[in-house]
Symmetry: C2
Subunit: 335 residues, 2 copies
C-alpha cells in the first residue's frame, strides 16, 4: 500500500514521478494547465504513495464534518462527567465530532477562551461550570462562535441555568418539614471566587428559608471544605463532634454528602435516625447510597445544551436563550 513509513509529502510525489513539486501542486489545483501525459504519471505516483495533501485533510476536517467543543473543568467531579454524558449522547447521532478541552486553572480557561474561537474552527462550543467574563463573551459573539453555557450564566450568551437559590430553599424546606431545627451546611471552596459560586447561592437560599422560619444558622454550622473526600470528611467529623451537633446536614453536592455519610458511619452516627443528610446533584452514585438529594437532571442539562446549540447554529439568532432546568427533590433514605 505504501513504501515509506512516513506520510508522503508533495516532494516525495514529485521525486517519484520525476517532476517538480510545482507540477504536482498544479495537478491538484489547476489540472488543466498540465498535459495529460504528465498528469497520468503524477496521479499514478500519488496513488502509489497514498499521498494526502495535509492542508486539505485539515480543511476537510474543519468545515465538513461538524465539530463541537466542550470546555469542562478537569473531570474529577462526577457531576461534570454526567453532563458530558448527556452532551455526548445528544451529539452522537448527529454525526458531530466532540472535542474536549479540560481546564484545571483559570489561566488555562483564559487561554482557551482567547484562542479557541479564533483558531479552533469549531462549529459550536459548550462550556460547563466555568464562569466566562464579559470580554470573553464578546469575543465569542464577535467571532460568531455559537456558545452555550451550563451552570454559570452570562447575559449575552445562551445558558442552561440551575436555580441554586431555589435548590437551597428546597433543601431547607424539606429538612424543616421533617422536624429538624439544628441544621448544618457543608459546601466546597474550590472554584474561582471572582464569580458567584453556585455553592454560595445554595447556601443563601438555604439560609433564607431558615430565617423565614426563625431558625438561626450560626457560623459554627457552616463549613466550607475543599472538594476532596478527606477534607470534606474532616469537616463533617468536626460538625458531628460539636457539643451540640446538628441533626441534619445539607451538603452542597452529592459528592460531599457521600463523604458526610462516610464520616457519620465512622463515628457510629446513625443515618437518618440521628443525622439526616441531604445532597445536591443526584449523581449516579446517589442512588446506590440511598441518598436523599436535590436532583438537577445532569444528563438532561447536557442534552438541553446541545439542543440549544444546534438551534443557534442553524438560525444564528442573536438573542441568547436562558433556560432554567427544573430541580426536584428525590427522597431516599438518608433524610
Amino acid at each position: 500500500m505504501d513504501k515509506k513509513k512516513k506520510k508522503p509529502t508533495i516532494y516525495d510525489v514529485a521525486k517519484h514521478a520525476g517532476v517538480s513539486i510545482t507540477t504536482v501542486s498544479r495537478i491538484l489545483n489547476a489540472p488543466n494547465k498540465v498535459n495529460s501525459g504528465t498528469w497520468e504519471r503524477v496521479i499514478a505516483s500519488i496513488d502509489a504513495l497514498g499521498y494526502v495533501p495535509k492542508a486539505e485533510a485539515r480543511a476537510r476536517a474543519m468545515q465538513k464534518n461538524g465539530r463541537i467543543g466542550v470546555i469542562t473543568p478537569f473531570f474529577t467531579a462526577p457531576s461534570f462527567v454526567q453532563r458530558l454524558r448527556g452532551i455526548a449522547g445528544a451529539l452522537s447521532p448527529m454525526n458531530f465530532e466532540l472535542v474536549i478541552y479540560t481546564v484545571d486553572s483559570t489561566n488555562h480557561l483564559q487561554r482557551y477562551l482567547s484562542t479557541l474561537p479564533l483558531t479552533g474552527n469549531l462549529d459550536g462550543l459548550i462550556i460547563i461550570s466555568l464562569p466566562v467574563g464579559d470580554l470573553d463573551a464578546s469575543r465569542l459573539i464577535d467571532h460568531g462562535l455559537p456558545t452555550v453555557l451550563i451552570e454559570y450564566p452570562h447575559p449575552n450568551l445562551n445558558c442552561v441555568e440551575i436555580d441554586d437559590v431555589q435548590g437551597g430553599r428546597m433543601a431547607a424546606t424539606y429538612l424543616l418539614k421533617k422536624g429538624h431545627r439544628r441544621i448544618a451546611f457543608l459546601g466546597d471552596t474550590d472554584l474561582p471566587e471572582y464569580s458567584i459560586h453556585p455553592v454560595s447561592l445554595r447556601l443563601s437560599g438555604f439560609r433564607q428559608v431558615l430565617k423565614e422560619s426563625g431558625i438561626d444558622l450560626p457560623h459554627t454550622l457552616v463549613r466550607l471544605a475543599p472538594y476532596s473526600q478527606e477534607q470534606t470528611r474532616q469537616a463533617a467529623r468536626e460538625l458531628l463532634s460539636l457539643a451540640e451537633p446538628p441533626t441534619a446536614i445539607f451538603a452542597a453536592t452529592d459528592f460531599q454528602a457521600l463523604s458526610v455519610l462516610k464520616a457519620a458511619h465512622q463515628l457510629n452516627v446513625r443515618v437518618p435516625e440521628q443525622l439526616a443528610v441531604i445532597g445536591f446533584d443526584d449523581l449516579d452514585m446517589a442512588e446506590y447510597a440511598d441518598l436523599t438529594t436535590i436532583g438537577q437532571h445532569l444528563d438532561e442539562s447536557g442534552k438541553l445544551a446541545v439542543e440549544i446549540l444546534l438551534t443557534q447554529m442553524e438560525s444564528s439568532s442573536p438573542l441568547p436563550r436562558h433556560v432554567q432546568i427544573p430541580l426536584n427533590i428525590i427522597e431516599r433514605k438518608t433524610a
Copy 2:
C-alpha cells in the same frame, strides 16, 4: 473592532504590540512561557485587530494536527469514564486536542475505523474496550496512525491489557481464604460476542482456582445479566433466594457488585456476615460503598495508553508494545 480590511497576520499583531512574531506565536501555543505583562499587551492587540490565526498554515508548520482521538463505547459504564479521565489528564498538559468518538453499535465502530485513519486529521488514536479486527488493524498500521488499544488486545497494535484471568483467580483465592465454599459468579452479557469477552476470562480464572481447590461452581451459581442496575439486581435476588444461597458473590464489575449490595440490603441479607461481595474495577464509587474489589487502576491505564501513544508518535517504532497493568486486591468491608 478591526481597522484594516485585510485579514491581519501574525506580523501585524507583532508590529501592533511591539513584539516579535515569535512572541505572538508563543502566546497562542505556550502561554506559560511569556510573562503576563507581555501576554496582556499582545492579547489586546489580537483583539484590536481581530486576528485569526490560519489553521492551515499552522498545521503545516507543526507537521501535526495536535489532535488525538479516543473511541469509546458510549459512556454509560463508569469504568470507561474513569479511563477517559486518565487519558484526559495525561493529554491536557501536552497541548493536544482530545476528540471523543462514542460508539453504540458495531456498525458505528466500523465506520470510524474505516474513515478515521484515512482523513489524516488525527495524530493518534486510543480505543477503549472495543475489539478491532485484523483488517482494521492493518488499515491503521498501513496509514501510519499510531494506535493504542485498552482492554481488547490485538497482536499487531499497542495494547494496555488487563489480565482478566488472573483477576478472576485473585477473587477466588481471596474468597477461599476467607473460608467461603459456596460461591457465586455474576457477570454481564452486553458486550459484543464475536470476541473474547473480559467477563468470560474473569469467570474462567475464577473457576480454575475453585476447581484447583476441589470446589464446584454449578450452573445455578453462575448468572449473566445485561449491564443494567435492575436486571443485575434481579439476578442477585435470584441467587440469594436459592434454597442454598451462596455465602459469597464475585461480581464481574463493580457496577454490578453495587447492585448485588443493593439487592442484599433489600432482602435484609447482612454484608459481609451473611454474604461476602467482591467486585472488579475499583471505581470511585467502590470506596464509598466500602466494596472489596479487584483494582485495575483505571485512571492509570488511561494514562499509560497516552504514554505509549506519545512514544510511538515520536519514534514510530514498528513493534507493538503490550503492557499488562497490574491488578491488586483492595480489601474493604464487603468481603
